[in-house]
Point group: C2
Chain length 679, copies 2
């Protein structure tokens, strides 16, 4: 039996984990107030909705979408009913703003009793939020689908809860963005921050400056018609769309068509490399261009906010340009920072003239700018605190970068009001408007972008909506996993695409051994994939390696680590835990023999061979450690030294991935040698 191929499903431990922290409602974000009742409201074929009070076409479409999603979740083909008492009564006192405003009332109350449910809200925007809560309440039970009796009173903690999606480095088609809007609405996010231009591509049609896309993109961009339709789609879901055009840095794509905007001499390519070109803020023609451009874009994007980027201005081109240096001295400026501040002041006036409020990254903070602007921090809460003390509003994205491949718990622990922001006065705190997750697009394609955003984005959504005290990590993971399934019913592909990609790599239907490996690795963190890339990134290369398919966070590794902790806390006596640990270790030990033939057959997997071998060796080491622990005699030093050598080797990234079960195996090895674990 030993050398048979045993596959232990990762779900086994997921089930055990969720059984431990059981019966809570699978709501994410957790509402401000939840009062459980008794009994439940059956959801069956006779389900119906009635709307009273304020009523408009947008709400009607929302109710239709709500019914369609409930139908997908439950499988009931609901049909229009008449003359029956509605299962769910909806009442809104007022309608919504034609252009959604920051701080518009999103509150609602939802009461579910066994006889019916009632959703009331001051505005139809609140109804949107409440309907998403209702969808999350519906669960399968022994008596059929039902929503538990409950009284929920809910409103967001922060008025600005966004997701930034970079569509410059890799173009993301409108239909993919739309399903992500659906996901955002499901977790009550309300801003799409659309990062529309960067060095690698300009993605918005400009009728005034057509060369921006003609020369500044690979042909993939959004027409103005598509953008207007997309904004309407977002508005229907209670989501504002804020455009970002990142200047004066991150703007190489502008210069292919309009090199006169640049501080250097070019030539410019979208492939990049070399110097970071930046705009020339000393020429009046630059402002003339921006006046015309921003006027056009201000009409296209109805949102009150306009993000001008302003980050990471690499001053080399300014330093190298004598005319620019002369300008700096002639205007009594001290340095490039002062020049950027001058640029931002000019820019802010243009933005304001178009009735927009300027938003920019940390670097734009400068006392010469009016207090109306918003500072968007990628650097940390201290930027927000510094801004707030000077009277500026702020948004946090530090800690919410989805592309850094952090586990959900790490994002979840970041609070806009913590650290430096915690010491602010209440009035200063009120200037902190919320935050945004960021999906930077160096390493995503339309195929895998969903899996980089979801389900972790739901956790950031909760941080920004729910009360600050909601922070239990075990509860978060259980609820995130439930919401993750619901999101696939909406059409997101964060789970399904991963399987497709593994099938592609394997070139066959048999991906069981491949999944064993893929389930215990994670992509390298932070910018390590980038720094491992020799030379500039090829933004048109396929992203079809294992790193592109695996989850940013290994559930299996987390559960295995929990198992080892349970075992350790029992003084290595808990036999049930040990048996499960052995099962995993044996699975891993034996997996390389299964997987190896496949790895040789396909070019997409060859680089993963050392990873598979190391996993196998870790499995064997862990099993030996358990044998020593069972015997109750310390493992020999020579053995321990050898195993720790293997463990150190296994900690190194391979194929840009990390084996996430190294630490718990190390713990077992050290324990078996009678040594207190390091961590």
């Amino acid at each position: 039996m030993r050398n048979l191929l045993i596959v232990l499903s990762f779900f086994l431990l997921a089930a055990l984990a969720s059984a431990q922290s059981q019966p809570q409602l699978n709501l994410m974000p957790m509402p401000a107030s939840v009062q459980p009742g008794t009994g439940q409201l059956p959801i069956n074929q006779s389900f119906s909705v009635a709307v009273t009070g304020n009523h408009d076409a947008s709400l009607d479409r929302e109710v239709q979408r709500f019914v369609a999603q409930l139908s997908r979740q439950t499988g009931f083909p609901f049909r229009p009913k008449s003359g029956v008492a509605p299962t769910l009564q909806i009442h809104a006192d007022h309608g919504r703003e034609a252009v959604q405003k920051l701080g518009e009332d999103e509150s609602y109350e939802l009461t579910v009793a066994d006889s019916g449910a009632k959703l009331t809200a001051p505005t139809t925007l609140g109804v949107l939020r409440g309907l998403q809560t209702f969808l999350q309440l519906v669960q399968i039970t022994p008596a059929g689908f039902a929503a538990p009796s409950v009284t929920i009173k809910d409103q967001p903690r922060f008025p600005w809860r966004g997701t930034l999606i970079d569509v410059s480095r890799h173009f993301i088609p409108i239909d993919v963005l739309k399903r992500n809007l659906d996901g955002m609405a499901a977790v009550k996010m309300n801003v799409l921050h659309w990062h529309l231009s960067d060095d690698q591509g300009f993605r918005v049609e400009s009728k005034k400056f057509p060369k921006l896309t003609q020369m500044g993109s690979d042909g993939m961009f959004y027409t103005q018609g598509e953008i207007s339709e997309f904004i309407a789609y977002a508005h229907d879901r209670g989501i504002r769309v804020m455009p970002e055009f990142d200047i004066p840095g991150h703007s190489q794509s502008w210069f292919l068509g309009y090199p006169e905007l640049s501080s250097g001499s070019g030539p410019y390519t979208l492939e990049g490399g070399g110097m970071n070109p930046i705009m020339d803020p000393t020429r009046e023609s630059t402002y003339k261009f921006l006046e015309n451009f921003i006027a056009e874009m201000a009409k296209l994007f109805p949102d009150a906010y306009f993000h001008i980027g302003g980050d990471e201005v690499d001053g080399k081109q300014w330093d190298a340009n004598p005319k620019i240096q002369e300008f700096i001295h002639a205007h009594g400026m001290k340095n490039n920072q002062d020049l950027q501040a001058y640029f931002n002041q000019r820019l802010q006036k243009i933005v304001a003239k178009n009735h927009k409020i300027m938003v920019g990254w940390d670097e734009i903070l400068h006392p010469d700018l009016p207090k109306t602007i918003i500072v968007h921090s990628w650097r940390g809460q201290q930027s927000l605190a510094a801004a707030a003390k000077q009277g500026y509003s702020g948004l946090l994205s530090f800690g919410y970068y989805l592309d850094l491949m952090w586990p959900a718990a790490r994002h979840y622990a970041i609070d806009p009001m913590s650290d430096a922001a915690a010491t602010l006065t209440p009035q200063e705190k009120s200037l902190i408007l919320g935050g945004e997750s960021c999906q930077w697009a160096e390493w995503v394609t339309p195929e895998n972008v969903d899996s980089h955003i979801w389900p972790r984005n739901a956790v950031i959504a909760e941080r920004l909506w729910s009360p600050q005290e909601v922070k239990d990590v075990a509860s978060m993971y259980a609820r995130m996993n439930a919401v993750s399934l619901d999101l696939e019913w909406l059409g997101l592909t964060h789970r399904s695409a991963r399987l497709h990609m593994l099938h592609r790599m394997a070139g066959s239907a048999d991906i069981s051994a491949l999944r064993i490996l893929a389930d215990v690795v994670e992509p390298v963190k932070d910018y390590n994939r980038w720094s491992d890339t020799k030379g500039p990134i090829d933004f048109h290369a396929p992203l079809t390696r294992m790193i592109d398919a695996v989850s940013p966070e290994s559930d299996t590794a987390r559960h295995f680590s929990d198992l080892v902790q349970t075992f350790a806390q029992s003084g290595y006596k808990d036999q049930a835990a040990e048996a499960q640990i052995r099962m995993w270790l044996a699975t891993w030990r034996d997996n390389d023999a299964r997987l190896h033939p496949l790895l040789d057959q396909t070019s997409l997997l060859q680089e993963d061979a050392p990873l598979s071998q190391d996993l196998s060796a870790l499995g064997a080491a862990g099993l030996q450690a358990l044998d020593y622990l069972d015997k109750g005699q310390p493992a020999p030093d020579s053995w321990k030294t050898q195993q720790l050598g293997l463990i150190e080797q296994s900690k190194q990234p391979m194929a840009d991935m990390l084996l996430m079960v190294v630490a718990p195996v190390q713990q077992l090895v050290e324990a078996s040698a009678g040594q207190a674990p390091h961590n």
Copy 2:
């Protein structure tokens, strides 16, 4: 370790099976002639296509779709190239007919060498077929994606290769139909037979007779605009669209709006039940109506063929109507069959007047009809033979009913030229035009319809395209499984929807134990689900039971049965086979303990408890049988009797499903008792 939860992936055995019947090309349908070469053509980022010869917008769209699908399969984001030698050269001598004709040339030649590939065809229709072959040739290899060197000369065996999709019983939205057209094109099918009306719903907008959909449907139907766009979509893919309006039976939906067409007095409902209403062929007003209606539909549907149904005319309403009986006698007819023949003659004239060729089911065959009509046989090859002997053309659907839940091999074994048709003269044989698979829609929803059609439909496609000698079953299964993966890249959901449905039933992410059970059951066969339904079917009930999610054919059971055969052929000595058999049996034995808690928690799974218990008992019985075999002493009679009782019980359908591993377990039990197996 015993009671630990071991999950043995079904893929394990799939891999073993495919390793045995290895290196063949994953082509389905298998081309008429395949000459393997040496070497392979690399497919990488520089892939490009050039078209010479005949060139039109439809071919350009096809090439775009081809490149998009190749991009999805390989993950390469192909970009337009210029000035490079094309990887694939395409040349068509001629264009296509504006309305695709039966028998239009679909042949092509495809040569792949390591330096490039060339696809030539007499018509652009042949190019469509050849491009699908090229897509199937591309595989991942140790050196990257590549197509093997090969010379293929291909043309279809039959000119009519269709899929009937019933959209009356359950409405299927256009987008779901479109992805099924994509699937049909991938396996070179060329007719969508659109079953547009039946008792339960009339699905086409008629401007002349709007009550057909207003009263004769639940509000779900296709507008004429949608239909025209859909036909163009099909034409682009080389697929004709033939409408069917089933009369004079199967026509209750017509009578809600137009009761004057009926032979009885009504009232009529879509829910049905009771008598089967049929049209009144004795009134001139019926023909007046049909003249107007068919004239309208003949314009809407450009195809040269028009299917009038004509099946299963239940004469009770004719018998019960004195006027109709009087008409029969007055016209010297003998019975209802003569009356239907009269109706069909009148109908045929109307159809012909609109420049269409009438097609109908077996029952329309009557010597008074002109030889131009086509007999579509649901009854068997003898109908085709009888028709051919009288000079009528024929199509076979007997044996190709996908809704009967047969295994792929059973459909595969049915040949239009076998049985009674095998004895025809060559000239008579030439009247057999091909066949159609049939997806009748009593038990499908838009959610699971793909999984009822695919991948089995690919096997019927092969039967109708490939030479008659292509019939190796092991090869068929290996190639069908490969094609099945490709079809999901096209957007079909036959694999993914099953997982979604299991998640819904479980109400959680943990479906591992549920899959163990779901992977070894099949829906009851033929019309047994129907006959188990007490009273009329509720066509608006949810289809969310396990029977609705499981595959019509259990791969696991097939592989397990193969394993047991291998073991038996070794005289029960093959230790490797025995070890694998034991692993499966232990998995099943232990599965009920895992699954039981879940079954109790959700109403959608409660009915499956006996099934799970029986699977567990079968696992235990099989293991005991192996123990006896290992000991080399016959199992006691009392034990055997008890086990065979269990086995008989397990053969009964439970929750409308069959446990497909009963027979091989029975074989083990009988062998252990020293008895030759029954089968």
